[in-house]
Symmetry: C2
Subunit: 320 residues, 2 copies
C-alpha cells in the first residue's frame, strides 16, 4: 500500500507546482474511482475552498462546447486562468462523437492558462456524481480559481451534476421546447442564468417569452434571485461578455447574502450521504454472493419467496 | 398493522375478480412505495409468470403515445386484452404536459379490455426502476397477459426501465439523430425492434440506413437476433400490424431458444440486488443523523476531515 500511494503524493506535489501531466494523471485516478483516488481526496481537501465553479448544461447540440470555448477566450482576455471539466455520462459508444465536438475547445489546449479535461462514466452508474466534486476539489487544491463544469445532455444525472456548481448556466436554443421536454422542470430548478444560444436563429424572442412565462409560473425559491435570460452566439462570442458579467453578478449576490456558503454546506452534506450510500452498496455487492444468496435467489425464481422478502432475509443475515 | 394491511388483501381479491378501481388503488400504493406495496408484492408474486411485457421507448415527441394507442387498437381488434403502463420519470411540473399527450390513449379508457395507467416518480430517484416491475407483477397476477410499458424520454432511467421488458421497441423519427444523441448507445443496446414512426415525413430512408449502419457497427450481442427496422404512421395505424407481428416473432424466437427465461432470471437477480441496495440506503439515511454524524459533518465543513474519511468513520461505527 505504501509503495502504491507514494507516487500519488509525488504526483500531487508536482500538480501543485503546475505540472499538467501530473494533474491529468490524478484526474484519471479520480475518474476511474481507483483506490488512490481516496489519497488524492485526502491531500486535496485541506487545501481547497477558493475555487468558484460555473456549471453549463443543456441538450446535445445546444452549442455548449462552442459557448464554453468562447467563455474561455473571454476569461483569458482578462488574464484569468480557467479549468474546464467536460462531463460525459454517455457510454463509450457515443463518447467518440461527443468528444469530437470538443475539438473546438482544443483551440485553447496549448494555452498554459487553460486546463481542459473530459470525464466520462467509468464503472457503475452515478460514479460521476461523486467523481466530479472530487475532481473540482483537486483543481481547487492546485490553485485553479475558475472551474467550468460542462455537462452533455439534460437527463437526471447531467442536471444533477451541473446543479452542483456555484452558478449554473442553462443553455437552450431558439425553439428549445422538444429537446428538453423530459426534464424542463429539472432545468428550471437549477438555472441561475438562462442563455439562448444560436440567437441569430429564428425564434429567440418566443423562446425568451417562454422562459419568462415558465419562470413566472414555476414559483421556484430563487431566494429573490431571478435568473436573467441572455442571448448569445457561441461561434462569434457575441453576448459572452454579458454572460460572464451575469455570472459575476450572481456570484456577488450569493456571496453577499450567505447563500453561497449555505449551498456549499448543503452540497457537502448531500455528498457525504451519497458516499455513505455508495459504501453500503459495495457492502451489498459483497452480500449478494455466496451460498446463502444463491439459495434465496433460487427460492425467488421458484416463486416461493418474493424479492423484498428475500432482501429482508439477506440483510438480516448481515445484521443490517 | 393488521388493520392497515387488511384492506390491501381485500383490494387484491377484488382486483383479481376484475375490479378496476381496486387495481388502480393497488397501483397507487406501489407508485407511492407505501408500506402496503410490500403486501401487494407478496400477494402478487406467487400468482404471476404468464404476462408478456413489451417496452416502448423513444425521445419525447416521437409519437409513442399515438403508436401505443394504435397498438392497443390492433390488439383489441384481435380480441386480446391489454394493460398499458405509461412511465413518466419527469417531475410533476412537466408531468401535466406529458400526460396531456396521453389523452390520445384515453380513446380506449372506457374499453373494459384495456387498462391504462400512468406512473410518475414519487419520492426519491430511481423509485420507478423498482415500482415498475412490481406494477407489472400485479398486472400479471390479476390476469393481464399483455402489458405494454411506455417510457417517456431516452435518459438512463427511461432506457433502463424500457429495457427490462421481454421485447423492447425503440421508436425514432425520420432525422432522429439529434434528439437521442446523448443515449444512442443505450438505445442500441436495448432495442429488439426499431420503429421509424411518422414515416410519411422526409428522411425515413436515410434514418433506416443510419440504423442499419449502426447495427452493423455496434456488434452488440443480440444472440443472433437482428432487430428489424419497421416504418409506421401512428396517427393512421399504418405499419402497426407489422409491428405487432415483429413483436410476436421476437417473442417466439426468445421463447424457443430459452433467452426469454434467461433474461427474466437475470432481471430478477438484478432487481434483488437493487432491492438490497435500496434497503441499505434506507439504513444509510438512518445512519446519517444523530450527534456522531453532526460532529463528523462539522469536521468535514472545517476541512479537518475529508468526506470519504468521514464516511469510513460513520460506517465503522455501525459495523458495516
Amino acid at each position: 500500500m505504501a509503495r502504491r500511494t507514494q507516487p500519488v503524493e509525488e504526483l500531487f506535489t508536482a500538480a501543485c507546482s503546475g505540472d499538467r501531466a501530473a494533474l491529468a494523471r490524478l484526474l484519471s485516478l479520480i475518474e476511474r474511482g481507483a483506490d488512490e483516488a481516496r489519497v488524492v481526496g485526502r491531500l486535496s481537501y485541506p487545501l481547497g475552498g477558493r475555487a468558484y465553479t460555473v456549471g453549463l448544461t443543456g441538450a446535445p447540440g445546444a452549442g455548449k462546447s462552442t459557448l464554453t470555448s468562447a467563455t474561455i477566450g473571454h476569461l483569458r482576455s482578462q488574464g484569468l486562468e480557467v479549468a474546464v471539466l467536460a462531463i460525459d455520462p454517455s457510454s463509450p459508444f457515443t463518447g467518440g462523437a461527443i468528444l469530437g465536438d470538443r475539438v473546438r475547445m482544443q483551440d485553447h489546449a496549448t494555452d498554459p492558462g487553460v486546463f481542459i479535461r473530459s470525464m466520462a462514466t467509468r464503472g457503475h452508474l452515478g460514479g460521476l456524481s461523486l467523481s466530479t466534486p472530487e475532481a473540482i476539489r483537486l483543481l481547487d487544491a492546485v490553485g485553479r480559481e475558475w472551474v467550468l463544469v460542462e455537462t452533455v445532455g439534460v437527463g437526471q444525472v447531467e442536471v444533477e451534476i451541473a446543479g452542483k456548481a456555484d452558478t449554473t448556466v442553462v443553455v437552450v436554443n431558439p425553439g428549445w421546447g422538444d429537446s428538453v421536454q423530459a426534464n424542463k422542470a429539472g432545468l428550471m430548478e437549477i438555472a441561475d442564468i438562462f442563455v439562448i444560444n444560436k440567437s441569430d436563429r429564428k425564434g429567440t424572442d418566443e423562446t425568451r417569452r417562454d422562459l419568462e412565462q415558465m419562470l413566472e409560473l414555476s414559483d421556484l425559491a430563487h431566494e429573490t434571485w431571478r435568473p436573467p435570460i441572455l442571448a448569445t452566439i457561441g461561434t462569434t462570442a457575441q453576448g459572452v461578455p454579458e454572460l460572464w458579467h451575469a455570472v459575476l453578478e450572481h456570484r456577488e449576490f450569493i456571496t453577499a447574502n450567505g447563500i453561497l456558503n449555505q449551498r456549499r454546506e448543503f452540497r457537502l452534506r448531500e455528498e457525504l450521504r451519497e458516499i455513505v450510500a455508495r459504501r453500503l452498496q459495495q457492502k451489498a455487492r459483497e452480500v449478494c454472493g455466496g451460498d446463502r444468496w444463491d439459495a434465496l435467489q433460487a427460492d425467488v425464481l421458484r416463486r416461493q419467496l418474493d424479492p423484498w422478502g428475500a432482501a429482508d432475509e439477506m440483510l438480516a443475515s448481515i445484521g443490517a
